[in-house]
Subunit: 369 residues, 2 copies
């Protein structure tokens, strides 16, 4: 596992000879296995079943899935083609409800199809080009936000993170773990505590695995140990990812993130959210409007296929919770670190981003669904 920095950087989502290539995250940490998809429906299913997960990663996987699906469309006219692409997009929209990057990516793909002149052949080319551009943008954004975040950290730092906001949650490099990687590249002495993150154990299985692969020191803890570590002064800051951020800065992320935020507040420890601007949903006034996915009970009642719960006992399994803006010290984005009051900071960051990239208003208007 600890095979050192000579490892090739992980590419979680990719395009390989006409197929969508995904790392199978359900096979980790046992094996690093790539799956090639030639059917767009299976890409949507891979998002639903969490073969690929992480807000930025599922956005890019959906974009590539739409590009893949569009190539199979036999349609002579623009309108017929657009109708079929919209149908494919709707399947992707239904795959998971909380991460807004999914809807952002889908909207962007639809806009490209609509705005591309010419016939379906041209439109197919434009869709693939756009999806691949999103992959490149994702890694570039993560490196920028990683650098902004790393500058916030002292030279020696114990960082607590929750779930996986790493290379495996993005195309590569990561958001919260992008900050970790940038700090390491700056020569800082970083140690990460990874919450194991029940029920699916993404912290244990993914975060610990990808950090160890890069020789970055990591210690896995049970989720319930975070408070005790903080009380002992062993945590200097918390950095997590996000699946959707409302206009006021409230942030949805993996269930348990809110608990960590309350603990950080109680102990006076900075709590940062690291996420690209595509995670912001300006259509939502506050986090109360973010839909929270409820997943199947079996994720709670069984571990590794073995029943751990007594038969017939009720469980709940919300996949996310919302951390209110007042518990967030800063939101680390590719445009810089946003600080409260978040509503203004977000407006400004999105305005600057729009200007800098020349993206139209359409692609930044993120409809909440």
């Amino acid at each position: 596992m600890r095979v050192g920095i000579q490892n090739k950087p992980l590419q979680t989502v990719g395009w390989e000879t006409g197929k969508v290539r995904l790392i199978d995250q359900t096979a980790l940490p046992e094996k690093l296995q790539y799956l090639d998809f030639s059917d767009w429906r299976e890409v949507a299913e891979a998002i639903r079943t969490m073969i690929v997960r992480g807000a930025p990663a599922i956005g890019c996987a959906a974009a590539l899935g739409i590009a893949l699906g569009s190539r199979g469309i036999i349609a002579s006219g623009r309108e017929a083609f657009l109708g079929r692409v919209t149908g494919i997009a709707d399947t992707f929209r239904a795959a998971r409800p909380t991460a807004v990057n999914l809807f952002w990516a889908i909207d962007r793909m639809i806009a490209v199809a609509e705005n591309t002149p010419g016939n379906p052949v041209d439109m197919k080319d434009a869709l693939l080009t756009e999806a691949l551009k999103m992959l490149d943008e994702d890694i570039a954004a993560n490196k920028r936000l990683g650098d902004f975040g790393a500058e916030l950290l002292p030279d020696a730092v114990n960082i607590l993170t929750h779930c996986n906001a790493g290379a495996l949650a993005t195309v590569g490099y990561g958001t919260a773990l992008g900050v970790v990687r940038s700090a390491v590249e700056m020569g800082k002495n970083v140690h990460v505590y990874a919450d194991e993150t029940r029920p699916r154990l993404q912290g244990m299985k993914l975060t610990a695995w990808e950090l160890a692969r890069d020789d970055i020191p990591v210690t896995v803890i049970a989720d319930n140990m975070a408070g005790s570590l903080m009380r002992q002064g062993k945590v200097d800051c918390v950095i997590v990812g996000a699946d959707r951020i409302a206009s006021n800065g409230d942030a949805a992320n993996k269930i348990g993130t809110y608990t960590v935020a309350v603990l950080a507040k109680h102990h006076g420890i900075p709590f940062y959210v690291a996420a690209p601007l595509s995670t912001i949903d300006q259509s939502l006034i506050s986090g109360a409007q973010i839909p929270i996915e409820q997943r199947e009970s079996i994720e709670m009642t069984h571990i590794e296929g073995i029943r751990v719960a007594p038969e017939g006992v009720a469980v709940i399994n919300p996949a996310f919770d919302v951390t209110p803006a007042e518990l967030i010290t800063g939101i680390i984005t590719e445009s810089g670190v946003l600080r409260a009051p978040y509503e203004e900071a977000i407006l400004e960051a999105l305005g600057v981003a729009r200007g800098a990239t020349g993206m139209g208003a359409r692609s930044m208007s993120i409809a909440g669904r």
Copy 2:
């Protein structure tokens, strides 16, 4: 599982035709299985390996184990017999370090041996009588503290608990779950949220099982969901057990209890500790002096015998944490509900208890080890 209130009450620790009978808690919830021990060494090992766990339960199991061991001693004189009993007691002392009830029970047994006049035959009888008395006292204390605690609760209440402080953590009835049972007996409308309690999942496997067995509504949550539930107003109070309480009211309990206490404080939710007076260690000024057991990594890295952690990744596994007195709304004991300032309340409760039971100073002086 939900076979109703006609179920016989659980007896976690018992004495059956010359043997120590324990419920095998590592077999739950799959099967309710009793193990009979005729070798005292195996009883000590059962405490170490958590076949029996829970502070009051291991105290009583050790007392019975000492009684069992004493019966096998072949010694003609008092001093030789006492020496051998002390040796057996020392093995039990080494079984687990944090729960003070273990040391309290052992000290009490040694005192009985020393104070019983006559020859080893008389002393053996006195030891068994004392151990059986402790079993009866445990259930009686739990019922009293259960009633005191239940009076604190509204008529309809959602209680969050952590780990298992139930019948399975005591001889029977339970401490935190004793309060739940008393409230149900008073006709209150009780629903329990049980933290699953990684790494060993005692909340999932034991608390949910024993409540469902008594038809008491229970919902299991991942430890990291507690904060989100509190924010949604779904938790009215928290009740947990304790493994050791210092003179100032600081309480050690299963790892993760402190996190729950901080969450309760943040949300203005009452946080109660339910424990018999034998859990109080007057030799300790504060919780900082309570030794915290570090258990084997395998409890974190493997679940149900299957590896979930990447190879070579570091984990920690402290079995307990300490909740400072200022986060505790009240300590529910068999002598009533203690309130801050705890130092005075504890002194008074122990004084009253001593007077009421006629116990000598020796049996109440709990040496910290």
